[in-house]
Structures are given as C-alpha cells and as structure tokens.
Symmetry: C2
Subunit: 382 residues, 2 copies
C-alpha cells in the first residue's frame, strides 16, 4: 500500500449511485423498469460543461478507474496511470466520469441486484445487454450530470467498442472518440474463445443454471477456467515467454499435476483471484455483449456507411502484439473513417504486451494520449 | 460409408498387439514391468528390411493411420490420404508401421489397462510418460519386427517431436526424419493452453482424482472443454472466418445461451464427440508429454549440440498459418540442423488451415512428401 497518496493521484474517491426511473427498453426486447448506475468522477466540470470525458470499461473492469477508495487502499483504480493531475487524461483540465456497465457486478444494476418484480436477485434472469444498451444508459447518465456533449468518450477493448457505438448513436454529443485496442466486430476465433469460457462456467455443476447463489455456491471452477483462458489471450506469446519462459517452480519435473511451470502458477493465481471479485452471470453477459457487437450489421455490413454520420474526431490506437483484437481490426475501422472523410488519427504502438498494453504505462502510448487531449483542449478554446 | 473400398486404399486392416516382458524404465523413474503395444502395418517388409516407415501419432491420434477396419467402416484411418498404394507414403514400396503410444487409450498399455500389480485399471496411477519413453518403446517394437533401421520415421505435431527424439536417441537406426508442424519445445503460450485443458478436466467433479471409472462416470464436461479449446488452436483465425464467420444458426440473436453462432455449434459438436472416443487420463498424460518435450535441455539448451550426433536426413515441413507450432519453431530446428552440417530440406507450405494442415490433402504438401520419399528410395537403391 502507498505510504501516502501520490501527488499525481486524484486522491481518495468514492462512487456515486444514481437511480433512473425512466424505463429502459433493451435490445433484447426486455424493459428495465428502473435501474441504478454507479459512477466515479475526477476533476471538476467547468462552467461551459465542455470538459467532460467519459471512460468506458472493458470486460472485467468497473467504474473505479482512478484514485483510491481509502487512504490505506493498497490498489488504485484500473486506469490510474492514465487519469490524474498532469497525466494523459489531466484531471486539472478535464472532468472525468467512469461508470459501471449495466449487467456488471460493480454496483450498477445487474444479476446481483434485486429484481423489483420479484424482490429477489435477478441472477440468470437479468437480461442480456448490448453495447448499444450501455451507450443508451450512459447517455442518460450524461443527461443527469448536465453534460450535453462529451469532450471525449474513450476506452480500451470492450470499452473502445462502446466509444464507437457512442460516435454512431450520438454523433452530436461526442467531440472526440478515443478507441483503443478494439475492433468493429469480433472475429470467429474471438467468439470461439468466449464460447469456451461460457461453457466452462455453464458446465460447472455449481452453476445451477445461474441460480448458484440460491444454493450458496459459486461456479468457481468454471469462472476460474474462463479467466485463465482470457489471460492467455490478453498477453502475447512473446511477453509470456519473457515473463515465464519454461521456468519450473521446483527447478525440475515432478511428473504430476501440481504446478510445475511458473506459467501454470500464474494462470491459477489469476483464475482464483478473479473468482473473489467477479460474478459469473455478469461474466456471461459481458461475453455476449462482445459477441453481439457489430454496428455495421445495421448498415448493410458496410462499416463506411456505419460511421458516415459520425461527427467526432477519432483517435484510434492499436498495439503491435495484440492478437486478441489485432491492429488489422483497428485499421479496418480507420479505413472506413477515412473513406467517409472523418477526421481520424491512428497509431499502431510497438508493444510486446499484447492486448493488455492498453492498460499499461507505455511512454509513446501515453504521450500520444497526452498530446491528443492537449490539442483537443486548445482547439476547443480558440 | 464408401460403396466399396477405393483402389488407392490399403484396404481392410486390423491391429496387432505385441506383449513386451522386458521391463521399461520410464523417465519419471517408474518401471513398467510389462506392457502391450498395439500397431498396424501396411505394405510389405522387403528382404533387406530397409523399406520400413514408422508413423508417430499426435495428441489424440492412434495406430489406425490408414485403411478401414471393416468393409463397411464409414471412416478410414487418420492419415489415410497420405498412406496407401501410389500415395505419398506409397505402400507398394514401403512397409508402414503405426503404433499407439504408451499411455494412450487406443490399445497400448495406458490408464485403461489393468495394472498387473493390483489387478485393476491403472487409471490415474499410470505413470506420466515422455516423448523419450515413447521412442524407447518404439525402438523395442522395431526390434521385435526385425527392423534395424527405419527408412523413415515421420509424424506431425506431437508425432514430429517423436521423430526428432528418434533422430537424437537412435542416430543409426533412422535414415530419414520427417518432422511436420512440430517444434523443438513448447512455448509458454502452448503450455498455458495445455494447463487450461488439464484444469478443465481435473476440476470436473466427475474426475474423482482420475478414478472416475470406479464411480461409473467420466469427466465429460472437462474433456469436452479441453477439446473445444484444442480445436481453436488447431485452426487459424482465417479458416475459422472462412468456415463460420459470424454466421448465426437461427439467422438472428436469441439473447440466450443456446447455440447462436455456427462456430459455437461446431465447437460443441467437436467436444462432445471427442468424449465418446478418448480417455481423460490419457489426455492429461499426452499434454504433459508435450510440455516436457525439450531434447535440448540435456544438451545445455543448445539445439545445435542436441542434433550434432544425428545421422538421418531431415525433411522439415511447416505451414504458414500454424500458430500453435509456428513456422518460426520449425526454422529454429532447421537452423540448428544446418549449423551442425546435417542434410536438411525445409519447406513452409502456404495453407490457411492452421496446425490441422498436417492432416490435410494439400497438393504441394503431398507432392513434397511424394518426391522426398521417391528420392530416398532411389538413393537407397543406387
């Protein structure tokens, strides 16, 4: 834990919960009669309300993007290296909003919440939500916060997909779209990995068709497997090699099934700790939102047409070693944006860290974000 | 099923079981006091006994490489497209031997066999075997068959690793080493995928620490997951895209967890059918043999030194889209062979089919094998 909170931190923060009474009709046809959104904010909204930045989180993220939840909190938010005073997303200049997605398990209404219709937890009855549903709910959050137009909406991975959907669905309400390590739609291989993760969870006998909490159990094994598999796809083969190689925990083979290679130890640890903090029904929902995401499907599968009404400036960032959402996918989007005469900057950042690069403090990456935001602010002022 | 057995087939074949009484001390320190090896053979051993080809099988393969087990057998052996009269491995010229690996579930002694010490099935007590153990047992098989020197030892994937081990361990007993879609050792990512597969099996409550047969169950869910995951790594992203894309079974999203995308249907089918034909304890063993394989570990991690005593001619084949054992791994071996002045031919075959390419009838691939074998035979005759 930090001796004291660093000067470039947003400090101790606490989440806010907003209740929404206006029913939200979801893509799946189900209507949420009411729901909560939990969010954190860092920095101050200016008088013109034009310095607000929305952070969209990825599969296992939440609203706690920066700062600490207590003086002695050992761990800051998940994008703390990027958000704070003087950081790429400079909270001296920007008002940063980070909300937990509907269907998640961080506080916004999701499978762990009470279903007002039954008085018990939704569990597996929580409807499958889509990226578009999230954007719709975030638009209502913006409304509630008095933000007519975001200076930027940004996010990595599944977060980046929300950004693209924002730019398509609310062209006038987003000045800059910062899309990092994302894709305009999942590949067959991506869906395949998600399906194995889902089957791991759903085949766990403790899953009980999603009603595991009624049985006072959680499908730990399945969720652990899903996370282990996820981790392999978040990292590049090269970085796995550099970190773990073929190193053995005991320096020799034991000819058994306990941990032998260090990589096994790492994966088991990642899997086990995830089980402590994430809900299996939420994980299932999130993978479905990923699979379904394909904004071009409603524009004759034409990505250029899809983005033709966008008004935002775009910054698209990919990472050379990302094989989950490869740079080629980002370039597909960039080409569509160029073909429809949008203002787009693109950089493919050299990094060995695979998909996880978007969370890391890579100097060039953060410099690019820093410069982009500095320029945007300048353009806004003059 | 075929109306009649094709003319270029080896026809109806049946396996032979050989019992070995001489104890076999395994790498893990355990000694098998006796064991069976089951094998098939195609073609005829010539008077000089110098036309024998050994086929080594991969993770889920077995001894049934070619031909049919009955006139009405719907499916031939796993490498039927490559082995037969006039085929690349021409059974008019070669005597082809294909054996089931120890620890497998195809008939050679393994977890399903009776442990002579207890009178009950080995189950999880069957010792973990290594590629070196397999080669040792295959060397004894060669002895029993009166084959002093193989015209060729060949195999793909884990089969190719056995070939390399053969060339290292028995330099005088192998004229040609044909190593296809293999690697001199697994990468960290390879081990990571294997570990997820193992955990899937071992965490299945029906696994019972490997004693599932005593409980009259099998860890179906775990083995299914392992196979689904395996299949993703056997195919390239491109071929998955070409075969399944984002195609939906019902043409629309159902917002549920039944099969939606065709790729999900394919993976579930592959997983479920594998459970019918493969033993979970064998699967675990095989993945361990893969992880452990690293012949250079006993030569100061110097691959050039490792192959320096080899006397075989080498043919190394990789496939451009194989990301499980990438062409770069094959080239690592080729470089080591060149550095130690071995006679080596190498080709990287253009194929979109990923790792599975080694099983497919790709014209250039089969032509290369055909030419290589034709030349070898010529060199042998003159």
């Amino acid at each position: 834990m930090p001796d004291s909170i660093p000067a470039d931190s947003v400090g101790v923060v606490s989440p806010t919960t907003l209740h929404f009474d206006e029913p939200l009709r979801l893509d799946c046809g189900v209507t949420l009669s009411e729901y909560d959104l939990v969010y954190e904010s860092y920095g101050t909204l200016n008088a013109e309300s034009n310095n607000a930045v929305l952070i969209c989180h990825a599969l296992s993220g939440d609203h706690h993007a920066a700062g600490f939840h207590a003086e002695q909190d050992p761990k800051p938010g998940w994008w703390n290296n990027c958000i704070g005073p003087g950081k790429p997303i400079d909270t001296n200049k920007y008002y940063v909003v980070s909300s937990n997605n509907l269907g998640g398990c961080g506080g916004s209404t999701g499978p762990l919440s009470t279903n007002p219709a039954t008085g018990t937890a939704f569990g597996p009855d929580f409807p499958i939500v889509t990226v578009r549903d999230w954007v719709e709910s975030q638009a209502r959050l913006a409304n509630a916060l008095g933000i007519d137009r975001w200076a930027a909406v940004m996010g990595g991975s599944l977060g980046g997909m929300q950004v693209l959907q924002w730019a398509v669905d609310y062209p006038k309400q987003i000045a800059n779209a910062v899309i990092i390590a994302a894709t305009p739609k999942l590949s067959t291989q991506n869906i395949a990995f998600n399906e194995v993760a889902r089957q791991a969870i759903r085949c766990d006998p403790s899953f009980h068709e999603g009603h595991y909490r009624l049985h006072n159990v959680v499908p730990e094994r399945g969720l652990m497997l899903a996370r282990m598999l996820g981790h392999i796809t978040y990292l590049s083969d090269d970085v796995l090699h550099a970190k773990f190689g073929r190193e053995l925990r005991d320096g020799k083979f034991n000819f058994g099934y306990d941990v032998e290679f260090q990589i096994e130890s790492y994966l088991r640890h990642q899997g086990q700790s995830f089980v402590q903090r994430f809900d299996a029904n939420s994980y299932l929902l999130m993978t479905k939102a990923l699979d379904y995401f394909d904004p071009a499907a409603q524009f004759d599968n034409d990505l250029t047409k899809t983005v033709s009404n966008c008004q935002a400036n775009f910054l698209v960032i990919s990472f050379t070693s990302d094989w989950r959402f490869s740079p080629e996918k980002s370039r597909e989007l960039v080409r569509a944006l160029l073909d429809s005469d949008k203002n787009v900057s693109y950089i493919d950042i050299e990094s060995e860290h695979g998909h996880d690069s978007f969370l890391m403090e890579i100097p060039l990456y953060h410099n690019v974000l820093h410069s982009y935001f500095a320029r945007s602010l300048q353009e806004q002022q003059y």
